[in-house]
Each structure stands twice: as structure tokens, then as C-alpha cells.
Amino acid sequence: MKSTGSQHKKIIVIPCSGIGKAFGSISRDATYEVVENLRKDVTQTLCLALLVSGDQESLQLVRNNKVITVDGCPLQCAEKNVKLAGGNLAGSLRVVDAYKQNRQLKPRGVTFLDNDGQQMALALAEKIANKVDDLLEEQ
């Protein structure tokens, strides 16, 4: 990691958490991998539904900090909702991009990710972490 200084503002990572398919669960798991392990000192997540509900604290958070969205499907709800909230969208990642680079993985579990799903989440988490590093370097 290039920078972990606590003087930096936090980067907000928001997954779509889509509930119907494995890709939504992967977006969520990848986000947790970043905010709890890979870049835990410089990132945090935020409830997407709370943000869209107009919660003032959440709105201020996405407007005053850089935001990376992680979407499970082409509808890109996380990205759209952050834009609608006037958030400082600095990066937008999709699970399908990780899938294209790991086609041998066939994630199926939705409620609980299977092994392939977990591996894809880790691959995606690396991409998110790299994006975090890029953003920190810009600051």
C-alpha cells in the first residue's frame, strides 16, 4: 500500500448489495475485504439504502469524501444512487470486470458465497484496493 496516513480523509466504498444474484453478494464481500482488511485504516463503507433515503450524515460523507462504488449488475444502482446524492464519485467498479478476468470461477451461492464466489470477491477487492491507492496518491 502506498499511503496509509490517518491525516487523509477516508475513502468511502459502497457496494450495491444486490440480493437476487451472486454478484451482489460478491460486491458486498469484496467491500468488506477492503474496509476490514486490505485498507482498513483509510476506507469505510456506508449503508446505500440510508444514503438514498436522504440521511444527512450519509449525504455529507459522500459529498466530502471520495467514493468508490462496487456494482453487481449493469443497472449500477450504487453508482447511480451516489450520483443522485451529489456524491464525490471517484471510482466505479463492477463485479463483471472481475468475472471477465477470472472466467474459470463460477460463483453460484447467493446467501452464502461458495468458494468461487469468495475467490472472485478477493480478486475484486484487490482492484478496489488499487483504486484506493491511486486516489490516495492524488490527494
Binding site: I14, P15, C16, S17, G18, I19, G20, G24, R28, D29, T31, Y32, E36, T45, L46, C47, L48, A49, L50, V52, S53, D55, L75, C77, A78, K80, N81, L84, V110, T111, F112
Partner: protein, 138 residues
């Protein structure tokens, strides 16, 4: 969202990324859909519903819904009321865990055994609510 040919109950779970109760909401909802009441329920993706998903909002207007929220901010319930109408029933996980006098739960990513037990109890409660809605279906 899947097709809805007959009597179906929509379950709308909060996404709740910040807290363990959000994960409990989500997993409990999935357990109901996949195991406990697979033929009687569908789910609606809350972020899509909030982003203006037309089909999702129409479903929630035309069919009974049960909202499952992790905390007392009740994003799923508030959104359903705002865009589609009063849900038939609503569940707040923190209310249940308080009533059940659960110890503090913390594993929001991978549910530990203790949290999984609570999650199964929440799923059972949702399933009871589904049965109740279907019993009173006019």
C-alpha cells in the same frame, strides 16, 4: 425480480452494509426465499427499488410486502411506504435481538455461529409473517 403469477409476498430487506444487523436482514431474507418459503415469496432489490426501478415499485404496490430492516432507521420500510404503500408487515432486527436479549453481535461479514442462530430465528419470524399475510389474502 422474478415473475409473479399468483399469490406472492415480496420481502424487502435493507442493505445495511454498516452493521451486523444489515447482514442478518439480508441473510434471513435469503433463507426464507431459498429454503423456508421458496414458492410463496420473491425479493425486491432495495437499491434498485430506491433508484426508481419501475417493476419493483409496481410489484410492491400490487402485492403485499414484508420489510426487514436491520436498525430503527428502517430504510426498507420508509422507502416502501414512500414509493409503493404501506407494507403488510415490518420487522426490525434490533427490536427482535433486544427482545431476545441477545449478546452484542459483531460479525457483519461472515456470520459466526451465534449470529447465524439469531439469523435463523429472524428467518423463522419472517416466514411466520408470510404465512399470516397469505392466510389473510383477500
Amino acid at each position: 425480480m422474478t415473475e409473479t403469477p399468483e399469490k406472492k409476498v415480496g420481502i424487502i430487506s435493507c442493505s445495511g452494509e454498516e452493521c451486523v444487523e444489515g447482514t442478518i436482514s439480508r441473510v434471513a431474507t435469503r433463507l426464507v426465499l431459498g429454503k423456508l418459503r421458496p414458492n410463496e415469496t420473491v425479493t425486491i432489490c432495495l437499491p434498485l427499488f430506491l433508484a426508481g426501478g419501475r417493476e419493483e415499485r409496481e410489484f410492491a404496490r400490487d402485492y403485499p410486502t414484508i420489510t426487514v430492516d436491520g436498525c430503527d432507521k428502517m430504510c426498507a420500510k420508509v422507502a416502501t411506504e414512500r414509493y409503493s404503500g404501506e407494507p403488510a408487515s415490518s420487522i426490525v432486527v434490533t427490536d427482535l435481538t433486544k427482545n431476545w436479549q441477545c449478546p452484542k453481535l459483531s460479525a457483519r461479514r461472515k456470520l459466526d455461529n451465534e449470529t447465524l442462530t439469531v439469523t435463523r430465528k429472524v428467518a423463522d419470524r419472517i416466514a411466520e409473517q408470510v404465512d399470516d399475510v397469505l392466510r389473510h389474502w383477500v
